[in-house]
Each structure stands twice: as structure tokens, then as C-alpha cells.
């Protein structure tokens, strides 16, 4: 069976196919439907220092070619995550776990990084600097390249032997600037993209469908946008790019590789077709040249 493993920073992953953050919770939840150990890895729901209750329901809204979500980073918080959730997966060393984390201050990032530096049983951290579903800019450092560079360095210094991915938002003027800053700060990869900011209205009530109004747009409709951001990042940095956004078929995954991605994360489509990630992996094993094909002169 062909080797399609990929190296991202200090860590080697058995293949380039991951499940995106927030899609499958802390991973274990999806074990009845997805063979987790078959995947390159799983990115967890974003963890914050303190537990978060998340936004008022309703939290998702279907659209013809995707969906809007307004989950609001509901999560159990750092302490319960390392106490309850991480150990679950430690019992499954065959599953590559990228822990997604977000924080409000550089100090919080230091404490998060130190908490994980002290533990094992995960492959690395993905910093979510770009959640469109939380109030204020405290959790939206992704707009500010200088801040991104500092945060990347703060974390990477503390987990040198783990893989550090910076997840970027598409809702800014230049993802290239942010990608360069992350690279400067020592990030091992750029994960692009998070959801595209969008909104929908309920004609019956005359109000937005979500209490918070705007929400995060995901699914096939955002594929061309995600591909373009990966394309932009690939031209800007030398570190690997993890492509995310709108994947719903093996063809979509091939396009991410052409755009310059080293690996991909499968998101919303999992709700519709939980078997897809494993089918993608099988197809890539049969066609390893797809993984290395690039539209850009490398």
C-alpha cells in the first residue's frame, strides 16, 4: 500500500486527510461512523481556558449549497479537556490529534501552551485566531499580522517538538500577510480557511435566523474562496498549507493539492457523508501522484 504520509513541522502524519475543527467534537463522538485511526488526524473542537456555554439556539441553518453556523465556541474548557477528553484519546495512540485552541490574551496563550507542553498524547496545536461567532475582537487576533507572529512564537517556543498550525480567516484583506507573519513566528503550517462570514434572514419573522445576526458560512459554496486563499498563501510562504473549505468530493481534494496544499481538512460534508474521508484516503493511496501535484511551479 502506497505511503502517502506527510511531514508537517516535527510531526509525520500517516496521510494528508484530517477532519476539521468543530465538526466532530473531541473526536470520540464520531468513532461509530468514522474509523479515526484511518485518518491522517482529527482536529478537535476549539478549546478555551475557561468553559464556554456557546450561543443561544438555533445554531445552524441549512442553505442550498452549504450552511451557516453560530455555535459560539461552546467547549468544556482547558481543565476538563486535559482531565477527561485527552486521556480518552491517549488510549488510542493510533489517532493523530491536533488540538484546536483559542484565547483572549497573549498571557492565556502562554498558559494554554504550557498546559499542553506538560502533556502528551496529541500531535500538535491548531490556533483558531479567527472564529467569526464570538463577540468582540478578543478572539479574532487573525486580523493582525504582528499579533499573529507574536502568538505563534509564544506557543511554538513551548511546544518545539509538536506541530503548530495557525488557522486563518478568509474575512480579511490579505491572508498572505497573516500567513507570512505566522511563518515568521515559527508556525509549522497555515490552516486555511475558517468559515466565511455570512447571514440569512427568516422572512416569516423578518429577523436574522441567528440571535447574533452574522454567522459562519461553510460547505461546497465556499470551495472557490478557500482554494483561492490557499493559492494566495502558497505563493506567500514556504511552510505547508492545510486546505480547508467546501470539500465534498475527491475532486475537490485534488484541487486543494493543485492550489498548493500539503494536507486537507474535511468539514461540513461529514454531516452529509461521513464515509467521505475514508474514501478520499483510499483514492489517494491508489493515486499518490495526486497528493504531490501542484499548479504552481513548486
Amino acid at each position: 500500500m502506497t505511503d502517502i504520509s506527510v511531514q508537517i513541522g516535527p510531526v509525520r502524519f500517516k496521510n494528508p486527510v484530517f477532519i476539521a475543527s468543530g465538526i466532530c467534537g473531541y473526536a470520540e463522538e464520531y468513532s461509530p461512523l468514522v474509523n479515526l485511526s484511518r485518518l491522517g488526524g482529527v482536529v478537535t473542537k476549539t478549546i478555551t481556558m475557561r468553559p464556554r456555554a456557546g450561543n443561544l439556539p438555533p445554531r445552524i441553518h441549512e442553505l442550498p449549497h452549504g450552511m451557516l453556523n453560530s455555535i459560539g465556541l461552546e467547549n468544556v474548557g482547558l481543565d476538563r479537556y486535559v482531565a477527561d477528553k485527552l486521556p480518552q484519546l491517549n488510549q488510542r495512540p493510533d489517532v493523530g490529534v491536533m488540538v484546536s485552541v483559542a484565547a483572549e490574551t497573549e498571557d492565556e496563550f502562554i498558559r494554554l501552551a504550557e498546559a499542553f507542553a506538560a502533556r502528551d498524547g496529541y500531535a500538535g496545536l491548531e490556533l483558531n485566531l479567527s472564529c467569526p461567532n464570538v463577540r468582540g475582537e478578543a478572539l479574532d487576533q487573525g486580523r493582525n499580522p504582528q499579533l499573529v507572529e507574536r502568538i505563534a512564537r509564544i506557543v511554538k517556543d513551548r511546544i518545539p517538538d509538536k506541530s503548530l498550525w495557525i488557522k486563518v480567516t478568509p474575512n480579511i484583506t490579505s491572508v498572505a500577510d497573516v500567513a507570512r507573519a505566522a511563518e515568521q513566528g515559527g508556525a509549522d503550517a497555515i490552516a486555511a480557511i475558517n468559515t466565511v462570514i455570512g447571514i440569512d434572514f427568516d422572512l416569516a419573522t423578518g429577523r436574522p435566523v441567528f440571535a447574533r445576526g452574522s454567522a459562519g458560512y461553510s460547505g461546497p459554496a465556499i470551495l472557490p474562496i478557500a482554494l483561492q486563499k490557499v493559492w494566495e498563501c502558497a505563493k506567500a510562504v514556504k511552510i505547508p498549507i492545510v486546505g480547508i473549505g467546501g470539500i465534498a468530493s475527491i475532486e475537490d481534494v485534488r484541487k486543494f493539492f493543485l492550489a498548493g496544499a500539503t494536507a486537507v481538512q474535511v468539514g461540513t460534508v461529514l454531516y452529509n457523508d461521513p464515509g467521505l474521508p475514508e474514501r478520499i484516503i483510499t483514492a489517494l493511496e491508489q493515486n499518490p501522484q495526486w497528493v504531490t501535484a501542484r499548479a504552481l511551479p513548486a
Binding site: G22, I23, C24, G25, Y26, E29, Y30, S31, P32, L33, K45, P51, R52, A53, G54, L56, P57, P58, R59, I60, H61, E62, L63, P64, H65, G66, M67, N69, I71, E74, V76, G77, R80, G219, P220, A248, S249, T268, V269, L270, Y271, N272, D273, P274, G275
Partner: protein
């Protein structure tokens, strides 16, 4: 409440055995029971992918449906046509295939030896019918089922055993059975003969009234809720409802902590009414 083991959720591809109209707005979708489909408990549901043109993703989210009946050979779903997805399901022809996973969620508790009064509103009859008359593990005579709809045309009665042995009917306009809603009928029934618990499934307003009644009478009330779902596995936190429970979050998931909840822990005023 019974702890649901997600291990029972498997992805299945199966065939449509029948798809026929039951009443003005309801239809029955009968699926061949696939190998490995775990025996469902009353109140559990399946998460159904709505077929669309190949390469298209018109219906991106699956649709959750309660199990109305289940035998060795088939799984019955009773579906009301509300939006584009249920209409698309109505169009699936016999012999076509459908993907789903399940059974999912927390069922109604099995209160052996207790007197349970079931209140089914509209399509909410499904899990309570299964609970009382079809589920392998079910109460005997202790179970009374009341079934209400807006009007005669909305009731679906085939296979439904009627009084005295079975179901008592109510219609808001009195066009069939008791005139009034199913909760008003429940008050009369409780006056006639008390019960140890109320089970409800139907419109949120109806279940809210059932909660008030249960509180007045001082008996437990278990309600089966609806909400929009993504994963249906407790992973995405999309389907939460607000509760009075302690913990990091007041929210509980309809897909995994529910759909059946002890009505006394729900913040009824804040429930989303999809």
C-alpha cells in the same frame, strides 16, 4: 436517564419498501431494515440523508426522524411535509436507496408496572405509538395513548388500534373524537383515572402545556424535543436546548442527551420552535 451508547449508530444504505400518503400532510416511508441495525428503543431516531442529483448538494444536512415502527424486515417513518427536504423524501420511489444512521438518542424510560399517559400531537404520535404497541420492550395495560390533530384530515389511523383497547382521539375542531387539544383531553383522562407519568411528543406549545399539567398533578413528564441537527452524535453542539441543569453549560443536546428529556429540567420559554 438511560445512557445512550453511540456505538449503536452505524451508517446504513437501504432500500425504500414503500412511500405512501397517510393523510393530507403525512406520509409513511418504509425502509428495508438493514443488517446490523441495532434494535431501537421508543423515542430514538434515525438521521436520514435526503437524496439529490448526483454531484449536487441541495440538501446538505440530514433530517432526523423518530422511529414509528420497526420489525425484523422494515423501519417505518411517518413524515409530515413541511419544507423542501420532506417533500424530496416524499418523491423517493419504491426500490430507490436511502442513506441513514441510527438508532440515535435517549429513549423514553421504560417505567415497568407504572401507569403512563402518552400525549401525541400530530406527527408526534410516532414514538409513542412505537412505545405502546410495537416496541419489543413495552408496557402492557398501564399505557394509555391520546392522539390529537388539528382536524380529521390530519389524523392518520391505519394500523393504529383504537379505543377501548388503544388510542383515544382528539381534534381541535371536534371533527373527530374529543373536541379540543390533546392536553385538555389529558386533564379529563387524569380526572377519570390518574397516571404515574406523562410522555409527550408534538408541537413545543403542546408539550409546554403538558409540562404545566404534569407539574400541577405532581407527576413526572418526559418530552421528546425537536431541533435542527448537524451531526446527530453529540459532537457539533448545534442542536442544544437550554436547561436548568448545573455544569459548564446550561445547554444539552437534543441528539445525544435527548431527544427525550425530563420536562422539569427544560427552560420551556426559551426552547427554539423550529
Amino acid at each position: 436517564m438511560a445512557v445512550f451508547t453511540p456505538a449503536s449508530a452505524h451508517e446504513h444504505r437501504t432500500t425504500v419498501l414503500a412511500n405512501r400518503r397517510l393523510s393530507r400532510r403525512y406520509f409513511l416511508l418504509r425502509l428495508a431494515r438493514p443488517d446490523g441495525f441495532v434494535e431501537p428503543a421508543a423515542g430514538q431516531f434515525v438521521h436520514v440523508a435526503v437524496p439529490s442529483i448526483p454531484g449536487d448538494n441541495r440538501f446538505f444536512l440530514r433530517r432526523p426522524f423518530s422511529i414509528h415502527d420497526c420489525s425484523a424486515d422494515f423501519i417505518d417513518l411517518v413524515i409530515v411535509e413541511v419544507g423542501a427536504g420532506s417533500q424530496a423524501l416524499r418523491r423517493i420511489a419504491q426500490g430507490e436507496s436511502v442513506d441513514f444512521y441510527g438508532p440515535l438518542g435517549q429513549p423514553y424510560p421504560l417505567l415497568a408496572g407504572k401507569r403512563v399517559l402518552g400525549l401525541g400531537g400530530g406527527v408526534g404520535l410516532a414514538p409513542l405509538y412505537y412505545y405502546g404497541f410495537r416496541a419489543p420492550a413495552r408496557l402492557g395495560d398501564g399505557y394509555r395513548l391520546l392522539y390529537g390533530a388539528r382536524t380529521k384530515e390530519d389524523l392518520f389511523l391505519d394500523h393504529i388500534p383504537l379505543e377501548p383497547a388503544g388510542v383515544t382521539l382528539a381534534t381541535d375542531d371536534g371533527s373527530h373524537g374529543f373536541r379540543g387539544n390533546v392536553v385538555q383531553l389529558a386533564e379529563r383522562e387524569l380526572a377519570r383515572e390518574p397516571a404515574d407519568a406523562i410522555f409527550s411528543c408534538g408541537p413545543t406549545v403542546m408539550m409546554r402545556a403538558a409540562q404545566a399539567l404534569a407539574a400541577r398533578v405532581g407527576i413526572p413528564h418526559y418530552a421528546s424535543l425537536e431541533n435542527r441537527m448537524g451531526c446527530a452524535l453529540g459532537a457539533c453542539r448545534a442542536c442544544v436546548v437550554p436547561t436548568t441543569l448545573e455544569g459548564d453549560s446550561p445547554y444539552r443536546t437534543v441528539c445525544h442527551d435527548g431527544p427525550v428529556f425530563d420536562g422539569s429540567v427544560l427552560r420551556w420559554e426559551e426552547l427554539p420552535v423550529p
